[in-house]
Subunit: 408 residues, 2 copies
Amino acid sequence: MVMPASAVAVPESGVPGSMGDVRRSNLSLVLGRIAEAPPGVHPSRAQVAAATRLTKASVSSLVLDLLEAGLLREVGLNQQGRGRPSVGLELNPARSVMGMEINVDYISAGVTDLAGNLLVRETQERDNRSGGHVPVLAALAGLAAKVRAAAGDGGVQVLGGGLAVPGLVEPAAARVLTAPNLGWTNVDLDLGALLPDVPLGVELFNEANAAALAELRHRPDGASDFVFVSGEVGVGGGLVVGSELFTGPGGHAGEVGHVVVDPEGVRCSCGGTGCLETVSGQDAILAAAGIAAGSRTRSESIEALVQALHEGQPRALSAVERAGQYLGVALASTARVMNVGSLVLGGHFAVLDPWLRAPLLDSLERYAPGRFAPEQVGLSAVGQAGALLGAAGSVVRSLVDAPHRLQY
Amino acid sequence: MVMPASAVAVPESGVPGSMGDVRRSNLSLVLGRIAEAPPGVHPSRAQVAAATRLTKASVSSLVLDLLEAGLLREVGLNQQGRGRPSVGLELNPARSVMGMEINVDYISAGVTDLAGNLLVRETQERDNRSGGHVPVLAALAGLAAKVRAAAGDGGVQVLGGGLAVPGLVEPAAARVLTAPNLGWTNVDLDLGALLPDVPLGVELFNEANAAALAELRHRPDGASDFVFVSGEVGVGGGLVVGSELFTGPGGHAGEVGHVVVDPEGVRCSCGGTGCLETVSGQDAILAAAGIAAGSRTRSESIEALVQALHEGQPRALSAVERAGQYLGVALASTARVMNVGSLVLGGHFAVLDPWLRAPLLDSLERYAPGRFAPEQVGLSAVGQAGALLGAAGSVVRSLVDAPHRLQY
DNA sequence: GACGATTAGTTTATTGCCTGAACTATATGC
DNA sequence: GCATATAGTTCAGGCAATAAACTAATCGTC
């Protein structure tokens, strides 16, 4: 797992520290070390002790707690030359978390083990725009139950879940403030009903943020700082800084789609003017490319656009070129304000990359010269499953950060 | 990067927590409570215990350490009705830190006590653009020695210092990467020579960042999240998020001056195109207003501009109007990406506020509708002393965060 | 194949720090 | 002067990490 094993031997500010905090911090430190290990590598207590600089005695005691909590498992003996063979440690593969996603035209639920491997996943096509949120959640609860049962058949226990939604969310209140493409406003979600009786409960995430976290975990270059731009109906974003999601004071940072790229531009659905979304969002590109929605679904329209690009249709090409140029304007500004050095394109930006990339790079060079070599502009490594994987991974991560939550 | 500034003494990432961390954290917690108290209020051990939820026993022991370290002082008896009178606690007024500033045409040094009150300050006009950094630092060392001696005459000991510089800095390396307006590039500073033999050493800050921290401390509304825009020769910025400076992964976040506000705009000194600085920087405004630099100093030019505005000269008015509009574009984008809800104007933006404000607010409303009520757009509360106060305050803050650094 | 060297993991004594409860100190009010 | 109330200290108890000694298991070598 890619995460900074930050050993914070101390509670949030404002509350006194006591020795229990040290214990909790060190539990997290040890668990994090084991979670970080590459697949197939099973560190021993001694290795963890060396890596963390805790003593062998402390690690033994901490590992015992984690074994009892069911988070770790001992796995065989590692023989490494002389001396007593070590006992390998790994994340318990019988513990898992569920990731769920509600999008405009589908719902999806999947279970990953604590190492992030997707064990089961089911997607169900569904028009979620009509009928309000109640039936959507009911359908998702059914899908989740099904997936959970499948995992249970494999002997896997689900500890908690994460739900990703394309809109502004208030995670603490389990509330969706606004999800324009779903037509939801101030919707309170009964997350408990979605996945009953799980020890860690269910957390709520913004879709682009969740997807950004999934990228963080799966980036081949292991970048720990980047701007993720998710091109969906709206243009969303996730800011990853120091391997953490940056959500800002209000919790909704990363609205790259509403950076002003053309002060003289057109009105945006957000009420603003000249937002990136108005030139580089799916609808804007399709319209500029002259591809009518007609009776097509959105993904069919994108396919038609790709087809047109392959055919070299000038209108399609210039629409995408324009989108790339303006994307460069927004990302140059964002990257300079945040001082982030790499970019990850998701959604339709990834799909359109072959045509979008050159104008994007040119634009970046024009507006933020010398900052972005081509290799700093990457494509999504997880694709459409990003939101689901990110939501699940984030729940795992918060568990690794605070493993004591599972020891009663 | 300007200190992690988490309210607590956290060990380096990956280092095990031990009981010493608890002690350090609680020392900081207690000291922080006392530092937070309004001027004239001297909390007792019992009050601190109640506020922190530490036991009276722990607080007594922690306070003893802090007294011995010279950070706290007992002050008289508070009589509050029945019972044994309490002993007031306050930050030791005999301990202080020094703030220093190098700017284009002056150097400045001042001493504040730990509560942030400015005790002595001296400013010396000086052309720092010519002759390189060595004589500048020599002059500043002399000024600092003078100010330190003055403080010493008052019985005040200087514990450490902070230096603010208008440029990109690498605080850990005591290095100025680039300070365009000083003509410095990759300059290594001997900070120790600036203020010899202080227990906490001297830290380096970016000017706009330091000023932003000073605003944080002195804001009348107590806002803990804002974008500070410092209008100097360049347009700098400081992002304050959750009462912390946000410096980004590379340590140089907040370059509001290089947000693209006009993709079709002119070349910027940074190599980019259409940056805010190219339309709202001092030089840009003065040029647009038709005010020649001539033999004037920069501040004289600004005075001439204000004069022209008072006289209602159309060219000056429209130059400032344009600057305000574009400032709105940059701030709307920045505030949406960072999800920060209030703005603070410094430097010439504060000076020009009477003429700048209306177009700025209009522009904000146009590009980020419904986000910025007029009261969310404030003016600098500290003015020109901001960088100096911020540098000093930041040193105090890192001391409060980690008071054990003073107990040998 | 016994023995020393080597490495893994556990046990034990010690130390540091917080907690709670008992205790001392110093005021008010009747 | 005595009950009451509040501030602050002392002391025993417990938890968690550490260091060092100890047990466990394997390899290499004579």
